[in-house]
């Protein structure tokens, strides 16, 4: 394709996005407004992540895209193809080989290393949005560090359900300052946000926000002393690779209630299977 610039966006736009990214890295967890562009895929389908990836990709990068932890879900395929066509970058499914990983809803199981960039697609960047629908109000709350409402919500959960009834997009506090939405990752993934060696960038296209976590940032999931945060997952090993430490998809395998559990991170599962690990449902 020659009609478009490298990685689709024009250099002017990339500069604007990079400035937002740098500002985000300088103020971890702070939502930086940016002039999100209309992308050739719909808002809500990863336009924020795509714009961030376009702004950080270089011709020598190796790019990986996952959706729900998997490289072969249709939207991940579509975004990967987009950058193959517009940037001609090398792509991979191997977490360790990728220099830029764009993700929707998961953090890879394999710990990331320095030099890697993890780009999250974010639908609603504002952790306070469902407590206060007005942007003008939530921005004020962040600047005044007024997070009481969030604690009240979590506390009410405990009173009503005995637990904090938030299982994904579980809010975190960054470096003791900003409350941040980690995007709709399962809370199982929350501990990985902390002290990560890779750069974490969050892009919300429709909502026109970018935020970031530089490497080795302190990220704490909100909780109470008597109700500490708990990273939960289905209490099963992976049916294919036998892993007990990975987040699992639940699959319905017949019409009489049969089900099995498989790693949601397809690369993690495949690497383990190739190394000879076998779960109870593997052939």
């Amino acid at each position: 394709m020659t009609e478009y610039n490298f990685a689709y966006l024009d250099e002017q736009t990339k500069r604007m996005i990079r400035r937002a990214i740098l500002k985000g890295l300088a103020i971890p967890g702070y939502q930086v407004p940016f002039a999100s562009r209309e992308m050739p895929m719909p808002y809500g389908w990863g336009t924020g992540g795509v714009q961030v990836s376009a702004a950080v990709l270089t011709p020598s990068d190796t790019f990986k895209v996952i959706d729900q932890g998997a490289d072969d879900t249709t939207n991940a395929v579509s975004i990967r193809t987009f950058f193959q066509r517009t940037a001609g970058v090398a792509t991979t499914t191997a977490t360790s080989d990728a220099t830029v990983i764009q993700t929707r809803h998961r953090i890879p199981e394999e710990p990331l290393h320095e030099g890697q960039i993890l780009v999250y697609q974010v639908p609603i960047p504002e952790p306070l949005r469902f407590l206060e629908p007005r942007e003008s109000e939530t921005r004020k709350m962040h600047s005044l560090e007024e997070y009481g409402l969030m604690h009240v919500k979590l506390y009410e959960d405990i009173i009503r359900h005995g637990h904090i009834a938030t299982s994904y997009a579980y809010p975190v506090k960054v470096e003791g300052r900003y409350v941040m939405d980690p995007s709709p990752i399962p809370k199982f993934d929350n501990p990985k946000l902390r002290d990560m060696a890779a750069i974490q960038l969050f892009g919300a296209g429709r909502e026109q926000r970018i935020y970031a976590l530089p490497p080795y940032t302190q990220v704490v999931s909100l909780d109470f002393e008597d109700h500490p945060f708990e990273a939960s997952k289905a209490d099963h090993p992976c049916g294919m690779c036998g892993a007990t430490d990975s987040y699992l998809d639940e699959l319905i395998i017949d019409d009489i209630g049969g089900r099995m559990f498989v790693c949601s991170d397809t690369d993690y599962c495949e690497v383990r299977q190739a190394a000879g690990h076998k779960g109870k449902d593997a052939a």
Partner: protein, 362 residues
């Protein structure tokens, strides 16, 4: 034995091929040309140009063809194309006073300088299906007369001379650009109008209608509605004077709204304004009503909590490309989130069940 689902890439390719085939439809039927769409579905073309924020009838017609007539999809195609275009400059402000009007009506004055011109309107057609069209769409030539030249004064200027309508404050500052700056609140009127002119027609219509039914009522009269072409000029720095580069067809609606005065403003008529690409009068009138509703604060009116008064609500939800994208994204897999919810609900149910058992035992 479980085999992981693979082949997303092939599935996508095949889906695209099927889509293309469906778009073409039965090949025994002649294919639609871009020119046919442009000429014969011109109001659809106008809507796509208006909400796509790009004045190009041929591209809009192409987008409609490609989108199989789904206008929001066509608008999306135009927006995504528009965003890649280089910017050579901004035009001089257009002057709708010199519009060559195809249509110009006022609901507030029976007669006025420049006259009432009905133009090509559906207004007084009887909505009876015309079965003749099914067989033969050829029509006799409509009567014509020479166009009148010169300026057509705005109705609101007549009221202004008497001091009966609020002054439209003169502002020479370049307006903000919604497509180059993130939308931030509170917004200026210029920014609100910019968002409304590309807002979804249905959403704008619904909001405008809600003000008529009492949700922030503002007693609007169509002071004037005009449709026609205006020249677009661009300033060429090397020449030192503006040069006309073309014409655009616009619909402009100025409402005159009853106003009994507020703490800060005397009783006078107030203004709502709509300006939209193409012949798009439903949209332009809706825009003017919503614009007026959003002006409650500067006019010192009460906020009665009506949706149309709420700039954040209106501006953040009026864009159909944002809305449709986010709405439709729930089709994408959410296995991971759903799985975590499953675990949570199971856990809560287990505990609730155990508690009930215990209470029954006691």
């Amino acid at each position: 034995m479980y085999v992981a689902v693979k082949g997303g890439e092939r599935a996508i390719e095949n889906a695209h091929a099927w889509l293309a085939e469906e778009r073409r439809g039965n090949t025994d039927i002649a294919e639609l040309s871009i020119a046919q769409i442009r000429e014969q579905l011109s109001l659809a073309v106008n809507r796509v140009m208006a909400e796509g924020s790009l004045y190009d009838p041929d591209l809009a017609a192409l987008a409609i063809k490609q989108a199989r007539g789904d206008l929001i999809e066509a608008i999306f195609l135009i927006r995504a194309y528009r965003t890649t275009l280089p910017r050579f400059g901004a035009s001089e402000p257009i002057d709708t006073g010199i519009m060559a009007c195809d249509r110009r009506i006022s609901a507030t004055f029976k007669d006025l300088p420049g006259g009432q011109v009905l133009g090509p309107t559906f207004d007084y057609t009887h909505r009876l299906l015309d079965f003749k069209l099914a067989a033969d769409g050829e029509v006799p030539k409509a009567p014509s007369r020479d166009a009148e030249t010169g300026t057509v004064p705005h109705v609101t200027e007549f009221l202004n001379r008497e001091g009966l309508i609020e002054e439209a404050p003169y502002d020479d500052a370049p307006p903000p650009d919604l497509t180059r700056e993130p939308l931030e609140m509170p917004s200026t009127r210029a920014l609100r109008l910019q968002a409304l002119t590309r807002a979804d027609e249905g959403f704008t219509l619904g909001l405008a209608y809600s003000t008529q039914r009492g949700y922030g009522r503002n007693h609007a009269f169509v002071g004037e509605l005009r449709i026609g072409s205006v020249p677009v000029e661009i300033d060429i720095p090397e020449l030192g004077f503006p040069v006309e580069i073309g014409e655009v067809i616009l619909t402009e609606c100025e409402t005159v709204n009853q106003f009994t005065g507020s703490k800060t403003e005397p009783p006078q008529f107030t203004r709502g304004y709509g300006l939209v690409f193409g012949q798009t009068e439903r949209k332009a009138i809706s825009m003017a009503l919503v614009d007026r509703a959003l002006r409650w604060e500067e006019l010192g009116e009460d906020n009665v909590g009506a949706p149309a008064q709420d700039a954040e609500f209106v501006l953040y939800h009026a864009d159909n490309i944002q809305a449709t994208g986010f709405l439709e994204h729930i089709k994408l897999p959410h296995y991971v989130d759903f799985q975590s919810e499953l675990e949570l609900v199971r856990k809560l149910r287990r505990e609730a069940g155990a508690q009930q058992l215990q209470e029954a035992a006691e």
